[in-house]
């Protein structure tokens, strides 16, 4: 289709209209003599204001919860010349909805003021709440809340939580109160936001029962023995055996328990276990410390960490000991081996049928029985028997202290020579040290009297004992000069020497 031809006149006419319009507009930019703002684009100011700034009254929306117990509201300020919010109107709106109970007038007052004056929108404001019914509960017993809390220990020095001491076990002592009486709770009616009554329920909690090691009286539920509190269903009991199905880890923390302990799961490295009872473990014990008043039985072995100490009040039965410092009162039995360990017992050390001692030091008051000691290349072991390690240990301690004190005295003495003006002061200090040394010496002498010896103790080697092994019986020494087989080392009291005789 062809374009229409260019019409100059029409264009000029349009330009003229535009110029007229602009001129008209320019003149309206200055107020007219009447003071009225002339219309812009044909619109009055009011109409212009409406067009540019919309007007809206303040308003609110409400939401009632499902169970009709709470009402939340959203409140919006007026816009432009919209009407402000009025408290009475809000209340009226609520009433129209049937919400008549639990209306929080003070909250509404505050919200309305905020909306009107500050022109803030307020959303999700709780404006009404019903009253819940109170259930009827007969008199009952409840476990003390503090017994149900998990204990946590804060290490103030390190400013950290010591997670190894964090334990889920609640330990109680004999006589400790476990549960207390809660009087009957009378029920009362409740009301929802619509003013509907809510009848109270009647609860019948299962009565608390006393289980093992727990007694019930008028005064309460009490533990009759020491142990671990156990709550199963509604039965309270105190276990004098702690069973650790999951072993020992950060879940359990270090273990400190008065009764026997059964460890059926793995023992994570670096944890401590203490008990007055006995310990049974079905796993390798890789621990930083064990103290037991009873026996220690492990299905596998015990591996020591640096600084690890195992103290046993009874006997020890294990597959192996590795780098362990062990003190026991009774028999120490290792089925397979004792490697680089210090073992001290007031009874015997017994190795299994093919049991081996490699390196380390074994002190057994009543003797040692082993299949093999050392090897060609291994570090030489020391086998000592006949003496009470506890008393010798105490004397050694006193000795250490004495030597330290003597050293101090020597230093002071040299100092006195260099500084004669301080002789009096130094003299006093030296006198104190001297007196302490004398005291410790006397203690050592008294302890030495208690040194119990068994000069019948012997070292029995059913297989081979390698050259260089050190044997000592009642302070008399013997160094194995060459590999020897099936031999008993015992003390020849008459001649004061250790004899090696064939088995």
């Amino acid at each position: 289709m062809d374009r229409p031809p260019f019409d100059v006149d029409r264009v000029l006419s349009r330009v003229e209209e535009l110029l007229t319009d602009v001129d008209a507009g320019v003149s309206t930019l200055t107020p007219s003599a009447s003071g009225k703002t002339p219309p812009v684009g044909g619109l009055g100011l009011e109409e212009l204001g409406e067009l540019l700034s919309p007007t809206r009254d303040a308003f609110a929306d409400f939401r009632v919860s499902e169970e009709n117990m709470v009402v939340h509201g959203d409140f919006y300020p007026p816009l432009g010349t919209g009407k402000p919010m009025v408290l009475d109107e809000v209340v009226y709106q609520l009433e129209k909805l049937g919400i008549t109970n639990g209306v929080l007038i003070p909250v509404l007052k505050e919200v309305v003021a905020d909306v009107d004056i500050e022109r803030h929108a307020r959303e999700n404001v709780l404006i009404a709440a019903g009253t819940a019914p109170v259930d009827e509960i007969p008199e009952r017993w409840e476990v003390l809340p503090e017994l149900l809390e998990r204990k946590r220990v804060l290490d103030d020095a390190a400013l950290t939580v010591d997670y190894k001491t964090d334990t889920p076990f609640v330990l109680v002592k004999a006589g400790e109160l476990l549960a207390f009486r809660i009087p009957e709770q009378f029920g009362s009616r409740g009301w929802d936001v619509y003013g509907h009554a809510l009848e109270p329920a009647r609860r019948n909690p299962r009565p608390l029962q006393a289980g093992k090691n727990v007694s019930k009286s008028e005064a309460g539920f009490r533990a009759t023995g020491e142990g671990c509190l156990h709550i199963e269903g509604n039965t309270l009991s105190v276990d004098d055996v702690l069973v650790l199905d999951e072993g020992v880890s950060y879940q359990t923390g270090n273990i400190d328990f008065p009764g026997d302990i059964q460890i059926l799961g793995p023992i994570a490295s670096g944890f401590e276990i203490r008990t007055k009872g006995s310990i049974y473990s079905s796993q390798v014990m890789d621990v930083s410390g064990v103290v037991t008043g009873g026996n220690l039985v492990t299905q596998y072995g015990i591996v020591g960490k640096e600084g690890c100490r195992v103290t046993v009040g009874g006997t020890v039965r294990t597959k192996f000991l590795e780098q362990v410092v062990l003190q026991a009162q009774g028999l120490v039995f290792a089925q397979n081996s004792i490697h680089n360990s210090l073992v001290q017992t007031r009874d015997r050390v017994q190795l299994g049928e093919r049991g081996v001692i490699m390196g380390g030091r074994i002190e057994a008051q009543n003797g040692i029985d082993v299949f093999q000691v050392g090897s060609i290349r291994s570090v030489k072991a020391e086998l000592i028997c006949g003496m009470d390690f506890e008393v010798t240990g105490k004397i050694s301690w006193a000795q250490e202290k004495i030597l330290l004190l003597v050293k101090q005295m020597k230093q002071l003495s040299e100092h006195a020579k260099a500084h004669p003006e301080q002789t009096a002061k130094i003299g006093q200090a030296m006198a104190t040290l001297r007196s302490k040394i004398t005291e410790l010496s006397e203690i050592s002498r008294d302890l030495a009297v208690q040194l119990d010896r068994n000069d019948e103790a012997s070292v029995v080697v059913r297989g081979t004992v390698h050259m260089g092994t050190y044997v000592e019986i009642c302070h008399v020494s013997f160094v194995v000069p060459k590999p020897m087989s099936r031999v008993r080392f015992s003390l020849d009291k008459k001649h004061g020497v250790v004899r090696a005789a064939g088995l």
Binding site: I395, Q399, A448, L451, G496
Partner: protein, 115 residues
């Protein structure tokens, strides 16, 4: 009063031992070389002789042998940090009765001398 002869080249050991065991009621003779120790052991009777093993001029094993040859009933213990030291074996073969750990063991000494 029971008598102890102590042979050690370490002055601290000599001083401390003398102080402690004198306090405990023993008579202590402390010497720092093997030759003097042998001489004293010949001239006097001691209830216990303690000898260090590793010393500069004469080692403990040699001192033990020399004393035992002249006085077979001498009761000698050697002092060492390590009972596995081969010198200990030599000393025991030479006639030493036993071993004490360095610096010395009060308990052991008291026990040996209480008989």
């Amino acid at each position: 009063m029971k008598r102890i002869l102590l042979l050690d080249d370490d002055e601290f050991i000599l001083d401390s031992f003398s102080m402690i065991f004198t306090d405990l009621g023993f008579e202590v003779t402390a010497v720092s070389d093997g030759f003097t120790a042998i001489e004293r052991a010949m001239m006097e009777d001691f209830d216990l002789i303690l000898s260090d093993i590793r010393m500069p001029e004469m080692n403990g094993a040699v001192a033990v042998r020399a004393i035992v040859e002249r006085k077979p009933k001498a009761r000698i213990y050697v002092i060492t940090a390590y009972p596995g030291d081969p010198m200990v074996k030599l000393a025991l073969e030479a006639g030493a009765k036993g071993v004490m750990r360095k610096p010395f063991e009060i308990g052991k000494v008291l026990d040996l001398l209480k008989d």
